[in-house]
């Protein structure tokens, strides 16, 4: 079992908030000894999901947690919004589908960048995405 060492709650109301979440994730990853590849993977995922919460979810928040399981450090980020939710989850996770002026690779791509990826969404009830990434040793 992993313990939560420290946690930060951050709002996602503006584009600048998304950038702040990503920066916080980057700082933490670097402090915790993530290498450049793992850091880029985590912060890019944070960028995609933060942007989704803002653009598609109409804003919400992020919870960043620093985890420890004895040998490794982990960073878990939870994105929550109270937007319209995702109706056709299978289609969205398959990738290449977008309701916006974009590519639709955000969710499908993010999933491939982290070790843990969990998404909950019901139409009308908002969306919650949890990702987690660990140091290698």
């Amino acid at each position: 079992m992993a313990d939560v060492v420290q946690r930060w709650e951050m709002p996602i109301r503006t584009e600048d908030d998304v950038i702040l979440v990503r920066r916080k994730a980057r700082m933490l990853a670097q402090e915790r000894g993530f290498d450049a590849f793992a850091t880029a993977a985590l912060t890019t995922a944070a960028s995609e999901l933060g942007r989704n919460a803002l653009v598609h979810g109409g804003g919400g928040g992020a919870l960043i947690e620093h985890l420890a399981d004895g040998t490794r450090s982990g960073i878990r980020i939870t994105f929550v919004d109270r937007g319209p939710g995702i109706a056709d989850m299978a289609r969205v996770l398959a990738g290449g589908y977008s309701t916006a002026r974009s590519l639709g690779l955000g969710l499908s791509g993010t999933r491939r960048l982290v070790e843990e990826f969990d998404i909950e969404s019901a139409p009308g009830a908002g969306t919650k995405v949890v990702i987690c990434k660990w140091t290698r040793y």
Binding site: I19, R26, A36, F37, A40, A41, T44, L105, G109
Partner: protein, 125 residues
């Protein structure tokens, strides 16, 4: 050159060089694209090097902005080379399924400019 955004665009011989060092989001991205196109028109540049050495992460949104800028420049007759992509950025984009295959790439600014010179010598745009 008069610009809406605050990303510098420099003239280097018959080409343009722009170095992205800040987050390209929404209004900034649009202003950047428009500034680049106006600079191409004003200078008659045949080539454009976009240097992203300074970008520590490139998400699919920013990647699309960069690819689109290359497409826009191409419609005006200028060839774009994207340079300086970090190893971890390249790895992340490919893992996400993003294929930046519409834009030519090079290791760094010098290589990019050399490639544009070589095109010119061959009489291609």
């Amino acid at each position: 050159m008069s610009q809406r955004g605050n990303i510098p665009i420099l003239r280097v011989g018959s080409n343009l060089l722009t170095t992205i060092h800040i987050d390209l989001h929404d209004t900034i991205a649009e202003a950047f694209q428009e500034d680049v196109l106006v600079a191409i028109k004003n200078t008659g540049a045949k080539g454009l090097v976009i240097d992203i050495t300074g970008l520590e992460e490139v998400d699919t949104y920013v990647a699309r902005i960069l690819a689109d800028t290359g497409r826009m420049a191409a419609l005006m007759g200028a060839h774009t080379i994207l340079v300086g992509m970090r190893a971890e950025v390249a790895a992340t984009l490919v893992r996400m399924g993003f294929a930046m295959d519409t834009v030519e790439t090079a290791l760094d600014v010098d290589d990019g400019l050399a490639m544009l010179q070589a095109r010119k010598a061959l009489g291609r745009k």
